[in-house]
């Protein structure tokens, strides 16, 4: 590190502990307590990146979260690297590796910088205007734009770090640990309020912490000394929790806030291991006090973006806090008093201050007088018209301002410098306030937006509320906090505060140059590279709304959300358009305040915790038997069971044939099961299903179709009457939760008079389904005591039975059209029953089959799958299931909708069967169906919903929904595909065993 850029200053950093780090591959040294930015500056590195569009060299500008340029990539591990981090916020640690972003091949030699010489050709919205034509060239353009403009690299492997989420409730949350926040937190905690104080820095105190100046004194001490004592007293407050390195990310309604705590980011590489990296606090606060302070504005003038041009207050922090000189010959440029504090600090530390260029007429506040006393030269009523130096500023050109400030006059003075501090006044950080829904007011006197009306229990205090003078900050913070918390703290009465008062204010949003506007480069948004000229061009092109101008010019749309120069953009727009800024309004600040890494947002919800995985009791058996699984909602369902090297098609063909030829076994545990009890259970079913239930005998099962109130099919399943007032309803696998909610809704809100109780028992029972001509023989081996005769146990009935003394329910129901049984047994026994059935079925070649075969078998029978053959626009009539609509029932859910003018239309889309002319040709599900091949525009009649090759029929079969399909049986239609057109014929939906003989086979 360049020794001559450091001064001895051990108050905040530890200059005895040297830390090594790498920047752009080069090993450098800093001290414990440095940020990456302060360490780079101490190494005389200003150039840290290239601008987005013109690839101009850009340097460190600030010292906090508002930094627009020093955006770096941290780490080079494929799983841990993090793009878009601000060097000004990275605390230096042993082993840190960082590199510049947005430059290629290197920050010192950047190919994209050629854009800078072409910049007259790259005006506002250049990318929009140029690369949109011809549109098919976009793919090509995109590659080059991404390569030359990309902001950082994403990690390519999963993040190995651990992140955490926690909830926190408090009476008072104070955001910001500067002088106002400290006062507010102390008042709150001293009055027995459970208080949380957070600050994004590693230490409390804000900028007052290093404000050691004769002009700012409290009770005869320097303001920083007084504050240090205040911070000491916080430690004894039991009700106060302090969280440093914690930044508030979002402020939502009802005082729900998200804060990100950095836990290990500042630790050495080997200390980070196995620790939680960041924690997201989900805070619910009764009251919120925002004390987020303000940030310094830049000034907008020609070539104001060169490395070495920095915010004046940041230069002050680098010298007073880190002991780093940002240059050896520093000039300052200001429109307000605060640059003089910087000048005095620099002078006190032995740094040569060339001069202060001040756009104001001579003023004589105490701080200005102090600077003059130190012999610092001041150019009054002057502006900088140009800066020079490509990779680092080397001189400035100064001219006098005309009386109206619109032009420059007189002789040009050139002044050598290696750093320029700029100060355009202060912008209150109102971001959190607006995030929370608060409305802003504009104060014309110093051009600031201030918190106005809010619906939440909150206040803003200190400079984020527009108080910039030390005495006002303290007085108003105390009064506001007392009033807000309804307490009467008198710790701060009778304080003697000395504060330099700013007497003269002046503001020019866009400073004039001796060159005409088109020839200058006054940058507004340093990260997105837009200039004041771009904004003016947008206005000339007719944009009026601030939100439109923002998007068109991309001003304020980079990762810093335009923190620095949003105000100037607004100012220039207002001025050009001739409206008042208060009327123009401001753009919306959205959370997060500073970018959050995805890991923090998701916390522990990664990997297997990302979503619940539901497994059936037989899951292990399926794994052992090589099942391939498919996800059905949260469930893992066996899809098919390949044998040897079978592919899916081969396995499904084999399974489907075996189930019809002899026996198949299916895990049906995932079907939703709802236990329904109560004296009105039958009436309830009458109301929610389309068919009648009152006459269903005990011990019998019935298929039911459930509609939405709009008449569209919602769910289906078999319900069994277990006893007089007790039913077991089954639902589709995916619909289970929604059906239960819907039924509960009706019971609670429409029919509270019904005596009905619903309990979800999906997870309580496992279901083994055995089907095929030999299923009866298999079941008689498993449950020998059960009379399986058709007379005693016919299709659509149920029996209680015992297997190894364990109670189970056996339903004789069928989704395949085969003779079939479903055994429902407590989940813990389901696997053993499954194995029992499998063993018993071995002599019949019992074949486990998965969901794909189940779908194929039911399609052969024309049974629908809700959600596959229906899509929320199909009535039972559309599905050709008129038989299931009770004519006798006065009402049921959806009934009235079945004869609305639209639902009785005869040419609605209806479910039909489709056969391909070529029986080997299997249609694609989702394929469109048309009447004429060559008609333009082509009329689409409908689409294929289910399609399979049936091994039992030895041909391709499909279900489809087709406009007016019911009347089109036998009609030839076409399915146009990418390379060919397939000829099809409309048929009945039942392809196999129309007489249902197999059910009793």
């Amino acid at each position: 590190m360049s020794k001559d850029l450091r001064i001895i200053n051990n108050r905040f950093i530890d200059q005895t502990t040297r830390i090594s780090f790498k920047f752009d591959g080069k090993t450098l040294y800093g001290f414990k307590g440095d940020t990456l930015a302060s360490a780079l500056l101490a190494n005389n590195i200003h150039l840290v990146g290239r601008s987005f569009k013109y690839h101009r060299p850009r340097g460190i500008m600030a010292c906090g979260s508002e930094e627009p340029n020093a955006i770096v990539q941290v780490g080079n591990d494929a799983s841990m690297t993090e793009p878009n981090t601000r060097a000004t916020e990275i605390e230096l640690y042993e082993g840190l590796e960082a590199s510049s972003q947005n430059c290629w091949p290197s920050v010192n030699f950047d190919i994209g910088a050629i854009n800078n010489f072409f910049s007259p050709l790259i005006p506002a919205a250049f990318y929009y205007k140029t690369f949109m034509w011809p549109s098919n060239f976009w793919k090509l353009y995109e590659y080059f734009i991404r390569k030359s403009a990309g902001l950082g690299k994403s990690p390519t492997e999963p993040d190995k770090d651990i992140y955490d989420h926690r909830y926190l409730h408090c009476d008072v949350l104070v955001v910001g640990g500067g002088i106002s926040g400290i006062i507010a937190a102390k008042i709150a905690a001293k009055n027995n309020l459970n208080t949380l104080l957070i600050d994004d820095k590693n230490i409390l105190g804000g900028t007052t912490l290093f404000q050691e100046n004769e002009c700012f004194k409290i009770n005869n001490s320097y303001s920083n000394e007084w504050l240090k004592k205040e911070i000491e007293t916080l430690k004894s407050l039991e009700n106060l929790t302090i969280k440093t390195r914690t930044s508030l990310a979002a402020y939502h309604s009802y005082n729900y806030l998200l804060a990100r705590e950095n836990i290990t980011d500042h630790l050495d590489i080997n200390e980070k291991k196995d620790k939680i990296r960041q924690r997201l606090w989900k805070i619910r606060a009764k009251k919120v006090i925002i004390a987020t302070g303000s940030m310094e504005r830049p000034l907008i003038f020609n070539n104001n973006d060169r490395p070495g041009i920095m915010l004046s207050s940041s230069i002050k922090k680098y010298i007073d806090y880190y002991g780093v000189k940002c240059g050896q010959k520093i000039s300052l440029f200001t429109n307000n008093d605060s640059a003089y504090e910087t000048a005095i600090s620099l002078d006190n530390s032995g740094v040569n201050v060339n001069s202060v260029v001040d756009i104001r007429d001579k003023t004589n506040s105490s701080i200005v007088k102090q600077a003059e006393k130190l012999g610092i030269k001041i150019h009054w009523k002057s502006t900088i018209v140009n800066t020079n130096g490509y990779k680092k500023i080397n001189s400035i050109e100064i001219m006098k301002l005309s009386d109206d400030g619109a032009a420059v006059v007189g002789k040009k003075i050139k002044e050598q410098c290696d750093c320029l501090g700029i100060s355009g006044g202060w912008t209150p950080r109102v971001h959190l306030f607006t995030q929370s829904g608060g409305k802003l007011n504009f104060r014309d006197e110093d051009n600031v937006f201030l918190p106005g009306k809010s619906e939440l229990d909150q206040i803003s205090i200190g400079s984020c509320n527009g108080d910039f003078e030390l005495d006002e900050i303290i007085k108003n913070s105390v009064n506001s906090t007392n009033k807000f918390l309804k307490v009467n703290n008198n710790d701060y009465e009778n304080l003697e505060i000395i504060s330099s008062k700013e007497i003269h204010k002046k503001n020019i949003w866009l400073l004039p140059s001796d060159k005409p506007l088109g020839k200058t480069k006054p940058f507004l948004d340093f990260q997105n590279d837009s200039t004041a000229n771009d904004v003016k061009l947008a206005l000339r092109e007719g944009y009026k709304s601030i939100e439109h101008v923002k998007r068109y010019t991309t001003t304020g749309m980079a990762t810093d959300q335009g923190k620095l120069s949003n105000m100037h953009a607004l100012g220039i727009i207002a001025e050009t358009a001739g409206v008042k800024m208060g009327q123009l309004g401001t753009t919306t600040f959205r959370p997060p305040y500073t970018p959050l890494t995805f890991g923090t947002i998701v916390g522990r919800n990664v990997g297997e915790f990302f979503d619940i995985t539901r497994k059936t009791p037989m899951h292990e058996w399926h794994i052992k038997n090589k099942a391939v699984f498919e996800n059905v909602g949260q469930w893992k369902r066996a899809w098919y069971y390949p044998v040897d090297n079978e592919n899916m098609h081969e396995a499904v063909q084999r399974e489907s044939k075996a189930a019809r030829d002899s026996a198949g076994i299916l895990d049906a545990s995932t079907l939703g099961k709802i236990d329904i009890q109560g004296s009105d259970a039958s009436e309830f079913l009458n109301r929610v299903y389309t068919n009648a239930w009152s006459k269903l005998e005990i011990g019998k099962c019935r298929y039911g179709l459930m509609l939405n109130e709009d008449g569209m099919v919602y769910d289906d399943g078999v319900t069994t009457r277990l006893s007089e007032n007790h039913y077991l309803m089954t639902t589709t696998t995916g619909g289970a939760a929604n059906v239960l909610s819907k039924l509960e809704d009706y019971l609670q809100t429409e029919w509270p008079e019904l005596d009905v109780y619903l309990t979800s028992v999906t997870d309580h029972y496992g279901t083994v389904s055995v089907c095929g001509p030999n299923s009866k023989k298999i079941l008689s081996k498993v449950i020998p005591d059960l009379d399986l005769s058709d007379k005693e146990f016919p299709h659509m009935s149920f029996k209680n039975a015992l297997i190894d003394n364990i109670k189970c329910r056996v339903m004789r129901i069928s989704f395949t059209g085969e003779h079939s049984y479903e055994i429902n047994i407590q989940s813990s026994y389901a696997k053993s029953v499954w194995e029992k059935c499998y063993e018993a079925g071995k002599e019949f070649n019992i074949t486990p089959y998965g969901t794909e075969t189940m779908h194929l078998l039911r399609a052969e029978k024309g049974f629908i799958i809700v959600g596959q053959d229906t899509d929320g626009t199909m009535t039972p009539v559309d599905l050709q299931m008129d038989w299931i609509i009770s004519k006798k029932k006065y009402d049921f859910v959806g009934k009235r909708s079945l004869y609305r003018s639209d639902t009785i239309r005869e040419d609605r889309k209806q479910l039909v069967g489709l056969l391909t002319d070529d029986p080997k040709e299997v249609l694609e599900e989702g394929a469109q169906i048309v009447t004429e091949k060559n008609k333009q525009p082509i009329e689409m009649l409908g689409h294929v919903t289910s399609s399979y090759f049936s091994p039992n029929l030895n041909k391709s079969i499909a279900l489809a929904i087709v406009k007016n399909g019911k009347k089109m049986k036998g009609k030839k239609l076409f399915v146009p595909m990418e390379n060919k057109t397939i000829n099809v014929t409309i048929t009945d939906t039942v392809f196999l065993d129309k007489e249902n003989k197999r059910l009793n086979a």
Partner: protein, 91 residues
């Protein structure tokens, strides 16, 4: 994120609840006697007010009870919660 005072459980996070649209739309007792227009009024027409609105909410990840809420949609202020069947405490 709202803090919702479930009439059965007390204050809970919004993430435990699901919203169920406009409240006090009673399912007609005799749908068959309604014209298409009258039925459509029940089925489809919702007010979607900017301002004070009466809404149905369900404590889905809690007691699973439905209840009603008076909420100002312009600022998300919840003025009241009350049980199904009860009269709104505010008009």
């Amino acid at each position: 994120m709202f803090l919702i005072n479930c009439p059965y459980c007390g204050e809970r996070d919004q993430s435990e609840f699901s919203a169920g649209g406009e409240a006090h739309i009673v399912r007609p007792k005799q749908p068959t006697e309604l014209s298409d227009d009258q039925w459509a009024e029940y089925l489809f027409m919702r007010k979607n007010i900017k301002g004070v609105q009466f809404e149905r909410w369900n404590h889905a990840h809690g007691c699973r009870k439905w209840f009603n809420m008076v909420r100002d949609t312009s600022n998300d202020k919840i003025h009241a919660v009350y049980k199904i069947g009860e009269k709104p405490p505010i008009n």
